[in-house]
């Protein structure tokens, strides 16, 4: 796009514009924020992938036995709720197979804990339903728990998974927030470039008029702005990334000290680091495009 001879000869003394320092600092801060936020988004993503895979595939629904004076009636009620839960689970499009465990299977499971001699038929036995999910199917545990409660008040979902699901929802929200910060940062920076470019065009009105009168097309002028602003974008990006890298390490270090090993699952892949290291190129492109577009748009309003 930029011919070598237009690169070497820039009639517009743009490198002396007083807004250059402001833009460079602004772009540095923007790229810094962008890099740290991007690291956050990518870490949350890797965390989400891990968590999702641990709650994908299967789940267990437990029907806690109904307590009643009439043992038989209570037991029947428990079984009715189990049947309703099974019906509901089978009706879901995400399920592949729903298997209520038989009494024998339950006894088998409980024997190691209770010993051989206990007569299980006299105990209020919980019922377990094993649910196999279709490949890749994702379930919202919270809504499932709510639905189950309406047909089988005694049903309860695997606690750990329920909690993990809440965490996933939270992290998902956090990720959306971070993504909107990324968009906002790009928007604000482009806006700053737009306005300083417009100011500069006004400042160099006389030279631009001469260029036009000598037959220069708008692109000739736009290229000079694009070249200058690309440089600002690149060096601003380098500074921003240089500050962002140690910051990301400090945040990662702090996060690892949180107990529970949840955050351990968050790590930045090589792809993530590459993306962050490529940010100066990205900021260069955004700066260049914005300046180019601003010049073209502004000049179109002149004769």
């Amino acid at each position: 796009m930029l011919r070598s001879n237009t690169m070497r000869h820039r009639e517009l003394p743009l490198s002396a514009d007083s807004s250059n320092l402001f833009l460079k600092v602004m772009i540095s801060i923007a790229v810094f924020l962008f890099a740290v936020t991007l690291a956050g988004v990518l870490s949350i993503n890797s965390m989400l992938v891990n968590w999702n895979s641990s709650i994908l595939g299967s789940l267990t629904v437990q029907i806690i036995p109904v307590n009643g004076v009439d043992k038989l009636k209570a037991k029947n009620e428990t079984i009715v709720q189990e049947q309703r839960a099974v019906a509901l689970l089978e009706a879901m499009p995400e399920t592949q197979k729903v298997t209520p465990l038989t009494d024998a299977q339950l006894e088998q499971l409980l024997k190691p804990w209770l010993g051989d001699d206990v007569d299980l038929s006299n105990l209020p036995m919980p019922r377990l339903i094993d649910v196999k999910l279709k490949k890749g199917a994702e379930i919202n545990f919270m809504t499932l728990a709510e639905k189950l409660a309406t047909v089988a008040p005694q049903a309860s979902l695997d606690n750990h998974k329920l909690w993990l699901n809440k965490l996933i929802n939270f992290a998902g929200g956090l990720k959306m927030l971070a993504l909107s910060i990324l968009v906002l940062v790009i928007g604000i920076t482009s806006g700053a470039i737009f306005y300083s470019t417009q100011t500069s065009l006004g400042l160099h009105k006389d030279i631009i008029e001469i260029l036009h009168l000598l037959g220069a097309k708008d692109t000739y002028i736009a290229q000079q702005y694009a070249a200058k602003t690309a440089l600002l974008g690149f060096w601003g990006g380098i500074v921003g990334v240089l500050f962002a890298i140690p910051t990301i390490f400090v945040i990662a270090h702090l996060a690892q000290q949180i107990e529970g090993g949840i955050i351990n699952e968050a790590h930045l892949s090589w792809g993530g680091w590459t993306a962050i290291l490529c940010l100066p190129l990205f900021s260069m492109l955004v700066a260049m495009q914005t300046a180019y577009y601003t010049v073209k748009r502004t000049l179109e309003k002149m004769m």
Partner: protein, 234 residues
């Protein structure tokens, strides 16, 4: 097609802002290869008339056509292409003050993307001809008025334009170089360039006899050298 005027104005009026009309209902048709002086008192509208020809302004009324194209209907890129064929010596030079004489003269070639080696050859040659070769790399703001004017003239003719418009081009140069610059314009005209020169220099008008576009009372009249008395009156 060859009969199409190079520049044509039909019922052209121009005013600045809400001010009075500087020129009113102007009709003018310049044939390819013609040579005209443009005269009139200071403030008569010479620069205004030329600026519509070099496409710096559109008329407030009427239409201006260059090379057979109505500029009211031309898009920005088309206007740029027309301007490349029109060389202009501005009354106030309009040089890039912080650039060198060389870069100023090279500008019309650079905006149309000419090869830099070819540019160096052409510009060096022309600067030598207008006797600026001593200070080609000097920053323009350090040049004298006469030197600036010669740089401006060199810039106007470097691209061998179809039309040359010069707004009082001999105003600042020493009297002995004025005829030399006039000879340049005459030579270009002989090669086919259409020339219009706004001037007050009576010596030139008498020495090189060409028809005159005279501006008075917001309108225009053409006076030919044969018209004797009137011509002498200017």
């Amino acid at each position: 097609m060859s009969n199409t005027p190079i520049i044509e104005m039909e019922n052209v009026s121009i005013r600045y802002g809400r001010g009075p009309e500087v020129l009113r209902n102007i009709n003018l048709s310049l044939q390819r290869g013609s040579f005209h002086y443009l005269t009139g008192k200071s403030g008569a509208g010479k620069t205004s008339l030329l600026s519509m020809m070099y496409l710096a302004q559109k008329p407030s009324k009427g239409s201006v056509s260059v090379f057979g194209n109505n500029v009211n209907f031309a898009n920005r890129n088309a206007l740029a292409m027309f301007r490349r064929r029109i060389g202009v010596v501005f009354q106030d030079f309009r040089l890039l003050e912080h650039s060198s004489a060389f870069d100023n003269v090279a500008l019309p070639l650079r905006v149309c993307g000419m090869d830099e080696r070819e540019i160096r050859k052409r510009v060096t040659e022309l600067l030598k001809w207008v006797e600026i070769d001593r200070s080609t790399s000097a920053i323009t703001s350090t040049l004298s008025g006469g030197e600036k004017q010669r740089v401006a003239i060199a810039r106007a003719v470097i691209n061998r334009p179809d039309v040359l418009l010069a707004d009082e081009p001999t105003g600042n140069v020493d009297n002995d170089i004025a005829p030399k610059l006039m000879k340049l314009f005459v030579e270009l005209n002989k090669l086919g360039t259409t020339v219009v020169i706004a001037t007050h220099n009576e010596n030139l008008i008498k020495e090189f006899r060409y028809p005159t576009i005279h501006l008075k009372n917001h309108s225009l009249s053409i006076i030919n050298p044969e018209d004797g008395d009137e011509y002498a009156e200017i």
